[in-house]
């Protein structure tokens, strides 16, 4: 580690072992994907036996542990340097490509933000790998599963460690690939294969936005490297007023990319379908890590976003709209994983509110607490599904509390966290988001106030539908059939241990970001830690003063009412009757919500079917008929008929030539005679 460069983004120290963090998972994937199958084939032929299955998960988990270890060492080293110097570790691996003014290197950047992301990814990733050992134990393609999972972690680490937008894009598309492969892991089921494809394509729509945003930033700043961008954005030569249109357009395009990856309106539709993948995958990729990439990207580019209030308003506005919209869709889902999927979309909306109003660290804070409680919830759901023998419909559950106590308690704690009950982690992060939305003065007025109320309403819905899922799954009478009920069992130790750790994190994670209003002003560890990353934009951002305690009280009141409402409607007979009566009365609304507002159907009709029909038209009418038949073959036909016509003139028949000559002479004579006369 040696000091190399001083940037506005921080003092850079080169740290040559950084590449080990992503390299380990890549090696794991290579060994599980290539080496073991090859050796397996050899031992099958020569020793007539298969390699032990254990090799696969030892490799995969070992790779994750090594990667987590490397990330922790880097974190500790970074922590050893004085924070006031804004230390950043960098590692330049090789020059990737350059042409014209464009230069892209394969180089990593490990600053305070990257450290937080890497720790979340590698540690939660390692836990989910361990959990998978139990969950996927009966799976035939065991090594394929762990290959993809390691591959995912590799790309996710590239995404957060890349020091430039193009390298981040490598991770960005790479995790999309891993997600595609894992959603469609059971590809023999056409629906699951389709879900994977849908995820990839919807993400690609976002990626096109990402690309365009990148191009615009390149035209504006002449570089795509983060620290160079930071320098250029801060330089006196750059004034956002000179590029009013392009800068906001660039940032909004990048946000389209974020909306694709992080499942925001209007590109959220892939995430609920992505639940087709194995549940640990949903926990790791579609809750804890990959889907938060958009939030990370905006936090990473905070110094540019801070220059465009218009773009920030879009980010926060879309985030708020998504938070509420997705929360209402969680109301009537009966598939336990679908509830969690919509909840993830909604929670991601909260994170975008945070980064949209300029509260970068709060966005990362919620990203982190969400990773804890949502991973716990998904894995809890996985444990339920595992125990229920692949049943995901909550209407066939109920009363699981006594059958699966560890699963129940961990799920319950995580639900308290997401609902926003103090002192569980989600309370602190969500409360802080709403507080910042109200007090932030960085977006166009009066969006902040609208966003605050939208967020509050979404929080109410969250508490409601999450407790609904708890009550439907674990409380009341069991609604499973006799045969299933006999076989319900608590999950193996590898799974419950992970649940316990995550439940602990979901419970206590909030203490890393204690709010200001707490008496005695305890240190806000996370905010302080991330300060150097957001220092450049901090100067230009405004937050008003307000009584934080009051907001906390409102927040808790809202969460409690959500829980009580859920209890009333799902656990008390009176409430259940009332709900049934309302369902009859407002049947159309119920159907609308249950069918997710028919957004998928609308997309299918307005986009998929329309484009398909248009393409068929292009092919049949434009290509086959107009170009090929009329123009190309038409030209050939004209040539052919012209030749046919002229053939009469050259039959080789002397008599005909004679007739022609005489006729010509006659005409000539007639013309001359007429003229002469």
């Amino acid at each position: 580690m040696q000091f190399t460069l001083q940037h506005l983004g921080g003092n850079e120290y080169s740290f040559n072992l950084l590449y080990l963090i992503p390299l380990f998972p890549l090696l794991g994937a290579a060994i599980n994907g290539l080496l073991w199958p090859l050796l397996n084939r050899i031992t099958l032929v020569f020793a007539e036996r298969k390699l032990p299955r254990g090799l696969v998960h030892v490799t995969a988990v070992g790779a994750m542990a090594a990667s987590a270890g490397a990330a922790i060492i880097a974190f500790l080293k970074l922590r050893g340097l004085p924070l006031s110097d804004s230390p950043v570790f960098v590692f330049h691996w090789w020059d990737w490509f350059q042409a014209g003014g464009l230069k892209v290197a394969v180089a990593f950047r490990y600053d305070q933000l990257t450290a937080v992301m890497c720790l979340i990814i590698t540690c939660i990733g390692a836990m989910i790998h361990v959990y998978s050992i139990g969950y996927m134990s009966e799976e035939e393609s065991y090594n394929r599963y762990f290959t993809y999972l390691n591959l995912f972690v590799f790309f996710m680490l590239i995404l957060v460690m890349g020091d430039s937008l193009p390298l981040m894009f490598v991770g960005w598309e790479g995790v999309g690939l891993a997600s595609y492969l894992l959603i469609g892991f059971w590809f023999e089921d056409s629906e699951k294969a389709s879900a994977g494809k849908k995820a990839f394509i919807v993400n690609r729509v976002g990626d096109a936005g990402y690309l365009l945003g990148m191009f615009m930033l390149f035209v504006l700043f002449g570089t795509l490297n983060f620290s160079e961008l930071a320098d250029k954005a801060a330089a006196s030569g750059f004034s956002p007023a000179d590029h009013p249109w392009m800068l906001s357009a660039a940032l909004i395009c990048l946000f389209i990319g974020a909306a694709g990856k992080s499942a925001q309106i209007p590109l959220y539709v892939w995430l609920p379908d992505a639940m087709a993948g194995p549940t640990p995958v949903s926990a790791l990729i579609h809750a804890a890590t990959m889907v938060t990439a958009g939030v990370y990207m905006i936090a990473r580019l905070n110094f540019v976003y801070a220059l465009s209030p218009a773009a920030m308003t879009v980010v926060a506005g879309v985030g708020a709209a998504t938070a509420l919209f997705a929360a209402t869709m969680g109301f009537y889902q009966n598939d336990i994983k679908k509830v969690l999927a919509y909840s993830t979309v909604s929670q991601l909306g909260f994170m975008f509110i945070a980064v949209g109003v300029g509260a970068w660290w709060v966005g990362i804070f919620h990203l982190m607490t969400h990773a804890f409680f949502k991973a716990c919830l998904f894995l809890g759901a996985g444990s339920v599904i595992h125990g229920m023998h692949h049943e995901q419909d909550m209407r066939k559950m109920g009363g699981l509390k006594s059958y699966m106590p560890i699963t129940y308690w961990t799920y319950f704690l995580a639900t308290l966290a997401i609902a926003g009950i103090p002192p569980f982690s989600g309370f602190f992060s969500k409360d802080e988001i709403l507080y910042k939305a109200w007090t932030g003065g960085n977006i166009l007025n009066p969006a902040g106030k609208v966003i605050f109320f939208t967020g509050l309403l979404a929080a109410l819905c969250t508490a409601f539908y999450m407790f609904r899922s708890v009550f439907m799954t674990f409380h009341g009478e069991s609604r499973a059939d006799e045969h299933t009920r006999e076989q319900i069992h608590e999950s193996p130790r590898t799974m419950t241990a992970v649940l316990a750790i995550l439940a602990f994190l979901a419970t206590s994670g909030g203490f890393l970001g204690l709010p200001h209003w707490i008496p005695g002003h305890p240190a806000n560890v996370l905010e302080h830690w991330l300060e150097p990353v957001f220092a450049q934009s901090a100067g230009s951002l405004v937050f008003h003063e307000a009584n934080g305690f009051l907001f906390a009280v409102i927040s808790v009141a809202v969460a409690l009412s959500g829980i009580l409402l859920a209890r009333y409607f799902y656990l008390t007979p009176a409430g259940q009757q009332k709900a049934e009566a309302w369902r009859q009365d407002f049947n159309s609304i119920y159907t609308l919500v249950q069918n997710k507002y028919y957004v998928d159907e609308f997309y299918d009709f307005a986009i998929v079917k329309t484009i398909h029909a248009f393409s068929v038209l292009l092919w049949r009418i434009a290509d086959a008929f107009l170009i090929d038949t009329v123009a190309v073959n038409g030209l050939a036909q004209i040539t052919y008929y012209a030749g046919y016509a002229f053939r009469a003139l050259q039959t080789g028949n002397v008599q005909r030539y004679a007739v022609g000559m005489i006729a010509g002479l006659a005409v000539l004579a007639a013309v001359l005679a007429a003229k002469g006369g």
């Binding site: 490509f97 394509i201 690609r204 035209v219 398909h612 092919w619």
Partner: protein, 533 residues
């Protein structure tokens, strides 16, 4: 052997080794199939090794071409055997010599009759392609360019599918029609050229870039050249010969057709049409770019609704080549380098796609998408290879396709000379989405889901020979995606020179044109000083 002589003539050697092989192929009796095959493989490998040598020996000669040789051929007409290589042709030469042995190997089982004729065509075709890539004399180029049609005509017409006669005649007439107009333009240009040494006319590209002809003649000549090259590329709307030719051509023919032949159109623009008529070229760039963008989207949409895998891949070529031409039209170093790099990438990944279609066709004797489904379970190795190639085709980062597409798009977006460059880039980037749509949809319908057709249960996974020839392609996909610098370093200086020369020459010619118009009393709508914009 004199090393310097050898190295100096390396370009010619690379081109003539396959010709030697072609002659040998003719001498081998038809029954000796094995001898034909291995001899063809030997000569194509020899050419590849020679070209590797050339790649290693290539240095950037900033003023002239590398491996340049000029010998008088028809002195009376100023025609010479003038060959050489620069960064623009180097990679295309490499691509040609790289793909040919793979193609030869891939046809060991597929072609079982008239093997010697087939191998003759392959090697003769390779020699012609290499000849047109190294030719620096437009007459020499034209000879190779037209000769190329003959082996391709035979490959499709003799070894093709059921409707091969229609396809091969269409292919021939289409490209030939374009070429004839080019010939007229070549003659016109020749008659207005001067070789300062002899004072006579010349067909060397060195003298043809300094033509002194009227603005209208520049326009017409550029259009004539462009038509020939646009048909070859093929640019929308001159593309309809391509799907027919591909569907009817044997696998090897398709690989070479898509892999190299189409790129010669792009190359023709870069070597001849644009440098010879820079002012006209710059005027027409928005048109070329617009047609390219249409091609990107149109090709992708039409590819999406194809029922035949090969036709789908053929239309995807229209889309990909649209990207390439867009990057070229941008006339920025990044865009043009990207265009050139993407040409190579397309050769590798679409060549691989055609090989994959060939593998599956050899087994199932059909290419109907509906016939397949769920093959991934039956052919796991094939599925993995197919997936990698698919991802390369949709330009996923770490594969080669990404580098090219990225450079093209960013180079176009930042173009200062191309009108509406930003809107065109935005439109073209929808191709990024559509590419994923048609490729993944096809992959899903063929490989994923349950096995829908019981007939497919008997299909065998890839055999050793197939793995052997797919391996270098797969390797190249990653090498070119992860380490593009060694390639780009050879390309960029030449592209830089090309872009600078064309843009500065375009200005000079514009000024000359303005004077010409004044002298000849032609009224122009614009004031002369506006002519550059």
């Amino acid at each position: 052997m004199n090393m310097t002589w050898f190295e100096q003539n390396l370009a010619s050697i690379v081109a003539f080794v396959p010709l030697l092989g072609a002659i040998c192929a003719l001498l081998i009796p038809a029954e000796e199939k094995g001898v034909s095959r291995w001899s063809a493989f030997f000569f194509s490998m020899l050419a590849f090794v020679m070209s590797l040598w050339m790649f290693a020996a290539y240095r950037d000669y900033s003023s002239s071409m590398a491996f340049e040789v000029r010998k008088e051929w028809i002195p009376a007409f100023g025609v010479s055997y003038h060959v050489g290589v620069d960064g623009i042709s180097l990679l295309l030469v490499m691509l040609t010599t790289f793909l040919t042995p793979i193609v030869v190997l891939s046809t060991f089982r597929a072609v079982d009759e008239k093997v010697n004729l087939y191998m003759f065509c392959m090697l003769f075709l390779e020699a012609c392609m290499l000849g047109s890539l190294i030719a620096l004399d437009v007459f020499l180029f034209y000879v190779f360019w037209e000769l190329m049609l003959i082996p391709m005509f035979i490959l499709i017409g003799v070894f093709g599918g059921d409707n091969r006669i229609y396809a091969t005649i269409k292919f021939f007439l289409f490209t030939f029609a374009g070429s004839l107009l080019m010939l007229v333009a070549i003659l016109y240009a020749y008659l207005h050229s001067t070789d300062p040494l002899t004072g006579g006319h010349s067909t060397s590209i060195y003298h043809l870039v300094n033509l002194n002809i009227s603005p209208n003649a520049q326009m017409l000549c550029f259009l004539a050249f462009s038509l020939a090259f646009a048909i070859k590329v093929p640019m929308f709307p001159f593309h309809t010969w391509l799907p027919d030719a591909h569907v009817q051509a044997p696998t090897g023919g398709s690989v070479i057709l898509a892999g190299v032949l189409l790129k010669l159109g792009v190359y023709g623009f870069m070597r001849f049409a644009i440098p010879m008529f820079p002012a006209a070229a710059m005027k027409f760039m928005p048109v070329i770019a617009a047609l390219s963008v249409v091609g990107v989207i149109y090709g992708a949409l039409v590819a999406m609704v194809q029922n035949d895998i090969k036709k789908l891949v053929a239309y995807s070529s229209v889309s990909h080549l649209g990207f390439v031409m867009l990057g070229l039209a941008a006339m920025t170093v990044t865009g043009v380098t990207g265009a050139l790099y993407q040409s190579i990438n397309h050769g590798v990944s679409t060549g691989a796609l055609f090989l994959i279609v060939g593998i599956i066709y050899e087994r199932a004797h059909t290419r109907e998408i509906a016939h397949f489904g769920g093959l991934a379970k039956l052919l796991p190795f094939f599925a993995a290879v197919f997936l990698v190639v698919t991802l390369s085709s949709i330009a996923l980062p770490v594969t080669n396709g990404f580098i090219g597409e990225f450079m093209i798009l960013i180079g176009t977006f930042a173009s200062g000379t191309l009108k509406h460059a930003k809107i065109m880039t935005a439109l073209a980037s929808t191709g990024v989405v559509l590419g994923a749509v048609y490729m993944l949809w096809m992959y899903q319908r063929v490989m994923l889901g349950p096995v829908t057709n019981e007939e497919n249960r008997g299909l065998e996974d890839m055999n050793l020979r197939e793995m052997l020839y797919m391996a270098p392609v797969i390797a190249m996909i990653f090498i070119m995606g992860l380490f593009p610098e060694p390639f780009l370093r050879k390309v960029e200086p030449s592209v830089n020179k090309f872009v600078n020369q064309v843009t500065s020459r375009a200005k000079e010619v514009e000024e000359a044109n303005a004077r010409w118009n004044e002298e000849h009393g032609v009224k122009t709508a614009k004031a002369p000083e506006d002519g550059n914009h």
